[in-house]
Symmetry: C2
Subunit: 397 residues, 2 copies
């Protein structure tokens, strides 16, 4: 017996985020800025606990049995109402797929929309799971060059001329990993190109609600006259990541076949978890809760920026996110990133190499993603200071 795992599998390494966590766990006093978890303070524990009590006090059989394949109608209605009122997303002929966290939708979309050899367009550095989802079905993830406003329309158009494109994957708000937000004008240009080249847009917006400065920019889905935008939303960043409740929202003509595929992929998502989210939303002032998270994160992002400014060399550049959970710190080209990465471990701080987010796996970049939401604030400042000091050792002033 000599079963060989296919190359696509044996070349899949545990993520670089996990690598940081695992190596860091062995280093005394190590501070990780690697994982993208919400702050524990952002989780409304008491409200969630009450919601669990409410679910438990009702007819539990419907929770324990296979529930409705589509998920909780109540949660879908609440969500739709908010998307419509707060974000001005269209309501007519739109449908939901409830998911085990919004990331779950990446595989559903790739499986539904994309065949062997089809292209999917990403910002040059993007969310690894979104990239893998496309590869998993034999599709070809293509990284499109970016500037400070995100994906460059001319570069997208150049690539879209191949005629093999199926969709564009984007985090328009506070992008993972760069923290950048795409301005409205850029969104409109990208949208026009999508329409022209028959591309759908997968607007993955888990951070969209967490804006702590600047002005909200309309979502792609809000300008979606043609019904080509699939909007992925999540309750992981605002209520609880552990419950795994997210959704895809879009035109019925795409969502319905996706739901069929999702059902054969892994069946329904647990109703229990959806009801906990639903009852929490019904009980709390959700907008106020989000405001509290924003205040919390603003303080943290500011602290990280200060620590970088005060301790880092001027040759280091970093984004100044208006929301979300991540900052992108770029080192000069002459710095050897792998050596610097090792220095970070020596200094006792962990961050994620840009390589982890590189769509083509080649242009791996000279940057690091730093998370400012998870570590306790003193550790956040100390960790960022360590990062900044390490950078000093490697940068010419």
């Amino acid at each position: 017996m000599s079963f060989m795992l296919p190359e696509k599998t044996s070349s899949s390494r545990p993520s670089l985020i996990r690598e940081v966590q695992e190596r860091g766990a062995k280093i005394p006093g190590f501070i990780s800025l690697a994982i993208g978890n919400p702050s524990a303070e952002a989780i409304p524990q008491a409200a969630l606990k009450n919601a669990i009590k409410k679910v438990t006090s009702e007819n539990l059989l419907r929770v324990f049995e296979y529930g409705p394949t589509g998920g909780s109608v109540g949660l879908m209605e609440l969500t739709k109402q908010r998307l419509s009122e707060k974000k001005k997303l269209p309501k007519d002929r739109q449908a939901f797929i409830m998911l085990n966290g919004s990331g779950h939708g990446l595989g559903v979309a790739a499986r539904t929309l994309c065949c062997e050899g089809d292209e999917v367009y990403f910002e040059q550095f993007s969310y690894p799971c979104a990239i893998y989802a496309v590869r998993a079905v034999g599709g070809k993830p293509v990284g499109i060059p970016v500037d400070k406003d995100g994906m460059i329309p001319e570069e997208l158009e150049k690539q879209a001329k191949s005629g093999r494109g199926k969709y564009i994957y984007l985090n328009p708000n506070f992008q993972n990993p760069t923290g950048l937000t795409m301005p409205l004008q850029r969104r409109k240009e990208i949208y026009r190109i999508a329409g022209e080249y028959d591309l759908l847009i997968y607007e993955d917006d888990p951070y969209g609600d967490i804006r702590f400065s600047g002005t909200a920019v309309p979502n792609f889905k809000a300008i979606d006259i043609e019904g080509i935008v699939l909007f992925a939303g999540s309750y992981s960043k605002t209520l609880s990541p552990g419950l795994r409740v997210g959704y895809l929202y879009g035109d019925e003509k795409y969502i319905k076949p996706m739901e069929v595929i999702k059902n054969v992929m892994d069946g329904q998502s647990p109703l229990f978890n959806q009801l906990i989210v639903q009852y929490t939303l019904q009980a709390i002032d959700y907008e106020k809760h989000i405001c509290r998270i924003c205040e919390l994160y603003k303080k943290r992002a500011d602290a990280m920026i200060r620590a970088l400014e005060q301790n880092g060399p001027s040759a280091v550049q970093f984004t100044r996110p208006e929301g979300g959970m991540f900052m992108w710190v770029t080192l000069p080209e002459y710095v050897d990133i792998d050596t610097f990465y090792e220095e970070l471990f020596r200094q006792g701080v962990g961050a994620v190499k840009s390589e982890a987010f590189a769509v083509d796996g080649k242009k791996t970049g000279h940057a690091f993603r730093l998370n400012y939401t998870y570590a306790p604030i003193e550790q956040l400042i100390e960790g960022t200071t360590r990062f900044a000091k390490a950078a000093r050792l490697f940068c010419r002033e």
Copy 2:
């Protein structure tokens, strides 16, 4: 804008099971024997409710945050202990992936083990989601002819000579859809062929515990000296389908890379749901609970058999399952199955056409899957009687 869904998607129809449910919902007094749900009486509601209370009374933050990517260590330990003691499965160098229901593992396995053009071997009629999972990654599901003991070794070997085979998918116990169980000798032959042709075995055994007559047959995993069997187990049939807790168990060298793939596919499965299962297992006499389910289902299977014997024509053949949830009723070749299927709706009873389970989509068969676990017992008898009477109209005596 004219985005076209790929052919693989537009040819995916909602399942025939769903079709029965949806058409049946419009027929007054309709009885469905189509869906494969456990009986509500099989769900230990009080114990599950207590378990929820216990989870809620503890530190809930660990439940609300992203939990350990691997899942609950406690549940894995409990499960491993039982698999080892009750089923004599190996313990050394084995690992778990905790899943959102065991069906979730089908996609993980296909994604990890199978590439474009690779073959996966199934019993001629098999579980549709398992078949789709292989197609989703461009693999080729191949139906192997069966007899009353399941997959025929000589036929498997003939096909395996292609050299493109990756794994064999099987329900060894009370197969879905036929209800048949593979004898030990047959398992050994299949296992030998797997070893010889470098095939893994995906032993999907969600019904294995529910044996209500005859003698237990050792699992493939129990005779797995070479470490080539992936064992998929579930708490959906014995505790609660709605909580969506299942697992894959197998040799570390396959499970570890599968876990990497699973994590990029849809991240962790909710810890909350796993803890509910874990605390329930710790609180109840699980073996006694399973015995109760078996008694319940034996009564139901017997009732279905009686109704078929008393009311059906002798030309109709059916399996006599020793466990599980399904019976397979075969009509003579001369019966036009589609016409008969319509007659069932007219008689007010629903069952699943064998076509739904046909691996190659061509040899669609002359049989129906009847579930005996879900409908209340009077309805079960009445529905089966309607089925039998419909068969009378179509069969020559």
